[in-house]
Symmetry: C2
Subunit: 418 residues, 2 copies
């Protein structure tokens, strides 16, 4: 349907070495051309289709102004990596073309797919069985494709999932909590999603693996290179042992800072809920939490000592009302799951002798002497109860083994066999 | 005005050894007759005045049925220490009379006032300059009087106050936080209110004392006996050194369990805000927090390690939305104070080289090689920016000392003097 958009007389045909009309190849190409979260690219692909947008770009690269004019203002305004002064849609599109065009050189997604296949991976694009529909909530910021190593039914795996994210500079407390929470979530059939980084991410993945659970690691760089190096074995185990290592950028892409931040939106959108285990004030995990909240996903934060800077970001989320306080796997599951089966159990304190007593019983218990029995009237006066109330109440306490009559008076029963 | 209520022919006059018409003596008497929080007594005193209610009781003690009938249903239904099946107002009043009447024996508040004066204390009743008007929010559950040792301008002291409450079975973490928060609140001119108990209460009082602040200890028993014994020196120091030790029950009253729970409502009502520092699931501090919330006072909870049972109650308050997460004195002050001068400072993270950069700058910074300079076009392609954006952006980075030109290319500046 986009044929002829730039078929001005004498226009040279697009020269790309692969079948541009193949939507999977075209999406793979877009995941290379545009930086993650580029909503101008997302809107263009949404409007023209991945193949049509690619053809449009190949031609526009030679005449950006005409290309922008041909599309007019039909590319919607969106949130991109905006500069302070927001240019018009046409100017933004032209600037975008200028940004994407240099990457048309040597563009060939078949090469990257070949690398992926060599690692036993698979490409997921929207419409595939394994594609997680939850990512559609990202709109124009949705990834063009997912490059996956390990299980490729990412959509099914993520349908019941919790993102456990947090600081790389974690404490042993945070790692302990993350691993335990991940194991508990795995036991409850939840997939644990995280970013494969050091610290909380790694502890979360490890906790899930240790409980034979399913875990998904979302990398900021290509899945051909497990980054960071120190987590290589962990990520390989995830990919080979029932989990998935996933990226929106093709093999060969380096994990830049902006890609980390953009990657966080996928963690947030993919997971049924996001829980921040430990995060300092500037932690990237906070951006994941805020994206999740924007996407109306439940957000939890694990508290920690107020003396620990590694928990300050979590406390900030709690103070701002962005996150619910989450202290264990049951509460994380409740956040993500159905209210019925996944509801966290109501807390029960230690049993106490007065637990089963009503107010009269408690006041009588308080008034009863421990050793030397007291007269009924004395107990009543001390407790501030009527003689009738006191008589009836002491009778109940006696039946329950809490009070005894002795020498015409009353005292507490010995605390044996309680 | 209540004269003649029971002046049936032949009725014996009331025999009480003190001037029943003295409203201060009558209130002191009621604080001995009724258990703390007895709303039937509160309603009766509210309706007949303390002296009238006392005369009514003295006569009703001899004929409870006629007394109840004379008042009819004019004593409002209230929340008292209710038994499961709620009796009628008349029956409840009759039962109350039966409860209060035994304490008429030997009733003489002049004796208790004498004890109080011996300790240099003062009695506060509603209408006194020192009476805290905030207690009126308790309605029929308001105390009849306050027995005070130390500064008697309790109302003025409590006008800008934070209750710091928590577990007796505290951890060193909780005590550390309580003491630090109390000192910080004292520095900000807040009175610290607490219950004088071991653990968090004592740490809070101590923190305020250490910062030369004002602190109020609200005891569950009489102020003649500083309970618990281990806090005797602390409580004496509070009473003698610019603070106040306060109780609603007269000297000689023992600190029963029910009186602790009832006392908590006064802490909640008296303070501008209540912050729970550490509390297990069944801690009485949680009742203080919930009472404060019912009274529409701001409530805070200090988080702690989720592995610490001593913080579980705080986390429960956060989960239930009863409390705001509070991590330091500034946030506690913000909770209690005016939004203007007491607002907690916005958190600032550590400085980072990319802090002052916009998105273009950050992506260029990521793309810049650390050592070997790269060509402008290469930096642009790596960053996914246009050549124009890249040129302008690198110029800004160079000006800010973050990027250098070298041999026709660009690289990051050395991280010296940053």
């Amino acid at each position: 349907m986009t044929e002829g958009l730039f078929d001005a007389p004498g226009a040279r045909p697009t020269v790309l070495p692969f079948d541009v009309e193949d939507p999977r190849l075209a999406r793979a190409a877009w995941s290379r051309l545009a930086e993650p979260g580029d909503v101008v690219a997302g809107a263009l692909v949404g409007q023209l289709g991945p193949a049509g947008a690619l053809q449009w770009l190949a031609r526009a690269a030679r005449d950006p102004v005409a290309a922008a004019r041909a599309l007019g203002s039909s590319v919607p305004e969106g949130q991109t990596t905006g500069s302070p002064a927001r240019p018009s849609a046409g100017a933004r599109l032209a600037a975008s073309v200028e940004r994407w065009a240099p990457r048309l050189e040597n563009l060939d997604p078949r090469r990257e797919l070949h690398v992926l296949r060599r690692y036993g991976g698979a490409l997921l694009t929207p419409g595939d069985d394994g594609w997680p529909a939850a990512l559609d909530d990202l709109g124009a910021a949705a990834p063009f494709a997912l490059w996956v190593r390990g299980r490729s039914d990412v959509g099914a795996l993520a349908a019941r999932s919790v993102a456990l994210v947090g600081a790389r500079a974690s404490t042993s407390y945070g790692e302990h909590v993350a691993a335990g929470m991940a194991s508990g979530l795995a036991d409850r059939g939840f997939t644990v999603v995280s970013g494969g980084a050091y610290g909380i991410d790694a502890a979360a993945h490890r906790g899930s693996v240790a409980a034979d659970g399913v875990t998904i690691a979302l990398l900021a760089g290509g899945v051909d290179r497990f980054y960071p190096q120190g987590n290589h074995d962990l990520l390989r185990r995830i990919a080979e042992d029932g989990g998935a290592v996933v990226s929106e950028v093709p093999p060969g892409s380096a994990p830049f800072r902006q890609r980390f931040l953009a990657r966080n939106r996928i963690i947030a959108a993919l997971s049924s809920a996001t829980v921040v285990v430990e995060a300092a004030w500037r932690s990237g995990a906070l951006s994941t939490a805020r994206r999740a909240a924007e996407l109306l996903r439940p957000v939890g934060a694990v508290p920690g000592p107020v003396t620990s800077m590694a928990s300050a970001g979590c406390h900030g989320l709690l103070r701002d009302g962005v996150a619910t306080c989450v202290t264990d796997a049951a509460e994380a599951a409740e956040l993500a799951g159905d209210l019925g089966s996944d509801a966290a159990p109501v807390r029960q304190g230690r049993g106490d002798v007065v637990d089963g007593m009503d107010d009269v019983g408690r006041s009588l218990w308080d008034a009863l002497p421990v050793r030397t029995p007291a007269a009924l009237e004395s107990v009543a006066r001390t407790a501030g109860r009527t003689v009738r109330e006191t008589l009836a109440g002491l009778g109940r306490l006696e039946l329950d083994g809490h009070a005894v009559q002795e020498g015409g008076g009353w005292r507490r029963a010995e605390p044996t066999n309680r």
